[in-house]
């Protein structure tokens, strides 16, 4: 953010930090590639169907035939984890995109729409941000009932204010810049200025924030389905698998541990890549 004035030690640490994370970053990128592949074509990575039950192989520990073991119905946990990528990733990305779009619209309205719009939008943002996010999501789910779409909407609802805030700051900074002034004096229309000049320049930090937030949204979505408010049981969703696995905890640890590992590794990779993007964009600005 603010560049330190006595910058000799600070500069050195910044250089160090950047160098330290490269191999981890590559691994994260590679893993994310795999995750996206699994979301697009789970059949390529998994051998069987996610709900193919086998009564002869119930609660088997991890082995070469079932690397992640089998669950209480004899279904292969690895297959279910792979098929679980799509709903989990869709929930995370969907909620983030929704929040990004609606939040940006609100932020633009607040940043460029005059004082009253600004005051109303920003107070609403303050209210939403100061209520605990999970409670807000639960309140939303009482009204709508459980399900994948309501969970995504609930997460989008409480993450939206973050984008509204960022876009507001960005747009008012960009709005005061020289090239927007030039565009105004050239007589371009207001919408054209906002869409062609303000938005693209406010965009980079937004993309960085959204990348990191995909991870948080993914965790939130799987938390909600862990609590029992996500997709209906037979669907292979990570949070729901974890909750189901908890019942068999004392006898079959693999049922809960591997879906959780999948969530954690995915989120870890997303966060690592997002932070690398963040460092790059901040470095360029400085």
């Amino acid at each position: 953010m603010t560049a330190p004035t006595a910058a000799v030690p600070a500069l050195r640490t910044a250089g160090r930090r950047r160098a330290a994370w490269r191999p981890g970053l590559w691994a994260a990128g590679l893993f994310l590639g795999l995750v996206v592949l699994a979301a697009l074509a789970p059949g390529l990575l998994a051998s069987g169907a996610p709900d193919a039950a086998n009564a002869l192989a119930v609660l088997r520990p991890p082995s070469s035939a079932h690397p992640f073991g089998t669950d209480a119905n004899g279904r292969d946990v690895l297959t279910r984890v792979i098929y679980g990528v799509r709903p989990s990733l869709l929930a995370g990305v969907g909620a983030t995109l929704l929040a990004l779009l609606s939040g940006s619209a609100l932020g633009l309205l607040a940043g460029l729409g005059g004082r009253i719009a600004d005051a109303v939008v920003m107070r609403a943002v303050d209210i939403v941000l100061s209520l605990p996010s999970l409670l807000l999501a639960l309140l939303f789910l009482v009204v709508t009932g459980p399900g994948t779409l309501p969970s995504v909407l609930a997460i989008a609802l409480y993450t939206m204010p973050i984008y509204a805030r960022l876009v507001r700051v960005q747009s008012s900074v960009v709005g005061r810049s020289g090239y927007v002034e030039a565009a105004v004096s050239l007589g371009l229309s207001r919408t054209r200025i906002v869409l062609r000049h303000v938005l693209p320049n406010a965009f980079a930090p937004l993309v960085v924030l959204a990348t990191i937030e995909v991870g948080a949204a993914l965790v939130a979505a799987s938390s909600l389905s862990y609590l029992g408010f996500g997709p209906k049981p037979p669907a292979p969703e990570w949070g729901a698998m974890l909750a189901a696995g908890q019942e068999y905890f004392a006898v079959a640890w693999w049922m809960a541990v591997f879906p959780g590992l999948a969530i954690s590794t995915t989120v870890l990779s997303i966060t690592a890549v997002g932070r690398a993007l963040q460092r790059r964009s901040e470095g360029r600005r400085a």
């Binding site: 460029l112 409670l135 009204v143 709005g175 609590l227």
Partner: protein
């Protein structure tokens, strides 16, 4: 809008703030808090209206009731009044601490929350204390240290931020309860039962606070007053503890809103993982049963708690930052 960025405006705001910035800030914060409370109550009321199906049906549950009973319920709950009047009544009740009756539990919401509050408070308080202590120690140890120390530390922090609380809880249970048998697996409201949930809750808190505090410490350690202290012959540990730590604490205070959300959300999930009684379990069960007054009650209560915490913090600022003391 066409104002140029190079055109420096006179510092009008600073002058207007006058001699009592702290008091003014506290008043502003209070006003904002009242707004938040009002927002929470209004959102709650809105949810109450938006929920599909009538309130009477929700109250009756699955029982078939005669028309007279329905009419009586409608009269008792004031459901025949105009919407505005219902809203004002709801607001008035919330202000006086009356959050209505639970549909399912057949007791006032405040009573239901009160009964489960103790266990939740023990959990969140120990989780936060643990997280704050761990973050302070880690930040003090790792700020401006060798490259590998920092790399390991930021890797661990990344891990702590990314791991979902429920998975950490399950790992802890698998390892320490089922494999090693050190702690009880389910229930256990005693001190031994509190250890694992508190650790699970403390991990995300530690991860984020360590980052923030280390950044604050590093910024403080680059200040001239640190050089002065070192020139006086102060030890490194002394400089970190006596001079730099205070500066690192200030940004932490601004994170309280975030911390509040993390602790509350973490509490809901942790109570589920460890089968603990508490507000989190209460609210999850209420959502399943569509027991709206309880969910609303918890939302309104947490808004009130958030306000109380913020006011307490405003009083704490001068303790942490003595520069603010002269002003008030």
């Amino acid at each position: 809008m066409a104002e140029s960025a190079t055109h420096v405006r006179p510092p009008r705001r600073a002058a207007r703030r006058g001699a009592r910035p702290l008091l003014r800030a506290a008043a502003l914060r209070l006003a904002a808090s009242v707004l938040v409370f009002w927002g929470a109550v209004t959102a709650s009321f809105g949810a109450l209206q938006a929920v599909p199906g009538s309130t009477v049906d929700a109250l009756l549950g699955n029982n078939d009731a005669s028309l007279e009973v329905r009419a009586q319920i409608i009269r008792e709950y004031g459901l025949d009044r105009p919407l505005l009047e219902q809203y004002l009544t709801y607001l008035g009740h919330a202000l006086t601490g009356d959050l209505g009756r639970s549909y399912q539990l057949n007791q006032p919401v405040t009573q239901a929350i009160g009964a489960s509050l103790g266990s939740s408070l023990r959990l969140t308080a120990s989780g936060m204390a643990l997280g704050l202590a761990a973050a302070t120690v880690l930040a003090l140890l790792t700020a401006h240290r060798r490259r590998w120390v920092r790399a390991v530390s930021s890797g661990v922090e990344l891990l702590g931020v990314s791991l979902p609380v429920f998975w950490v809880g399950i790992l802890l249970l698998t390892l320490f309860s089922f494999r090693l048998g050190w702690f009880p697996a389910v229930g256990g409201d005693g001190a031994a039962g509190l250890v694992l949930p508190a650790v699970a809750l403390a991990i995300p808190v530690t991860a984020v606070l360590t980052q923030v505090m280390r950044e604050g410490l590093e910024r403080a350690l680059e200040q001239p007053f640190v050089l002065t202290a070192r020139a006086r012959g102060m030890t490194d540990a002394g400089v970190r503890l006596r001079h730099a730590l205070r500066h690192a604490l200030l940004p932490v205070v601004t994170l309280v809103g975030w911390l509040f959300g993390v602790l509350l959300g973490g509490m809901v999930v942790t109570e589920r993982v460890f089968g603990r009684p508490g507000v989190g379990r209460l609210v999850v069960e209420a959502v399943v049963a569509k027991d709206l007054p309880v969910v609303l009650g918890v939302v309104v209560c947490s808004a009130a708690l958030y306000i109380a915490v913020n006011i307490a913090l405003d009083l704490c600022y001068p303790v942490i930052d003595p520069r603010l003391r002269g002003a008030s």
